[in-house]
């Protein structure tokens, strides 16, 4: 069976529909069957529906994503309570250790994002990984930062990623590789993303899963949770009525 690929981190401009269309068309041309676009938390639902229609017209599945960047643990909990049911994917940009720890142990968080180039601000250590593995959160690696960095900056980033991916692998934390593209020229084919992941010592087959099986499983799991038939993990409502 042909493998399906997903990119969970496209960053189209919410206001400029034309450029968003070009980005989705390129993603479709490159062989993605599911894309997720990152929206601001206060996005208009109609805009999300428009993007969904656009992708469905191109023959792609679409998932709405929100990236939370809370300042504190309390702020994260408040935002999760407010936004979790509005978006299919929730990513948390971990800017402090307290936020990173709370995000890793919260089952409502899907993706942990560490954007900083400063080694003191990359909090994905064994303790974080252990919390994440118990709560089903995944580590996200965004390739646009790798493509845009050069020289010593890129070498440093590769070194962080190598260490983080090794820790994730040790604690069985799934890794998601995504493009983080805001423009079509930053998009790469899924296999090219997998090849890039080998730069930080990911096995090629593992890297292919990071652009296909892992992100697809996250979206499937969340859609099931968000459906009205969901009761608890593994339990769902099959039929309603007096004879049940």
């Amino acid at each position: 069976m042909r493998r399906k690929f997903a990119d969970l981190n496209l960053k189209p401009s919410v206001r400029d529909f034309g450029s968003a269309e070009a980005l989705f068309e390129k993603a479709c041309e490159l062989g993605y069957s599911l894309v997720a676009a990152s929206f601001p938390p206060d996005v208009n639902r109609e805009r999300v529906a428009e993007f969904k229609r656009l992708c469905s017209g191109l023959g792609m599945d679409f998932a709405a994503r929100v990236d939370l960047a809370p300042n504190s643990r309390r702020d994260l909990l408040r935002q999760l309570g407010r936004l979790r049911r509005r978006f299919e994917i929730v990513g948390v940009v971990c800017v402090s250790k307290a936020v990173a720890r709370q995000a890793a142990k919260d089952r409502r968080v899907d993706l942990l994002v560490f954007p900083e180039f400063d080694p003191r601000k990359r909090f994905f250590d064994p303790q974080e990984a252990e919390l994440a593995s118990n709560a089903l959160a995944s580590l996200e690696v965004c390739m646009s930062s790798l493509l845009l960095a050069e020289g010593a900056r890129r070498a440093r980033l590769l070194s962080f990623l190598r260490r983080e991916v090794a820790v994730a692998s040790k604690f069985c934390v799934p890794v998601v590789v995504s493009s983080g593209a805001s423009e079509p020229w930053l998009l790469r084919k899924p296999r090219e993303l997998a090849v890039l992941a080998t730069l930080f010592d990911m096995d090629f087959s593992e890297a292919l899963n990071a652009v296909s099986a892992v992100p697809l499983a996250i979206v499937r799991r969340n859609r099931e949770k968000l459906s009205s038939r969901f009761v608890a993990p593994g339990i769902r409502l099959v039929r309603r009525g007096k004879d049940c």
């Binding site: 042909r2 493998r3 690929f5 041309e29 490159l30 062989g31 790798l146 493509l147 845009l148 050069e150 020289g151 890129r154 079509p184 020229w185 930053l186 998009l187 790469r188 084919k189 899924p190 296999r191 090219e192 993303l193 090849v195 890039l196 080998t198 730069l199 090629f204």
Partner: protein, 132 residues
Amino acid sequence: MPREFGLLEGGRIVKVKIRRNPRYLALKIESDKTFERKIFLNNVWRSLTKLYGEYGASKAGMALVEYEPEKGFAVLRCENEALTMVRAALATLTSIGEKRVAVHVLAISGTLRALRKKLSRGAEGLSESGGF
């Protein structure tokens, strides 16, 4: 194609055949501007050297076999052992001069003939379902 080398063994020269195992990559170059053959190849080399250093790049055995700037199409040859390195270098190529560029691999094959066959069958689908 095997290459013959002279090797001194026990006081006499014996012929040793070293088999090269090339891979041909069909590439799609996406940019607003077209580039000269030499400029494009230099930038691929630069990208490879940036990622893997001069020692790593020396293992690639890279050469531009075909180049059609108007169509944004190229065929690149490299050693099979260096295929991942070359693919990574192509993926990290984001600009040539001031212009934005993206290079996508359409198909990969061991011979030019098989590569052309793959391309004529529809490289897009093949590159996703096949691969290496």
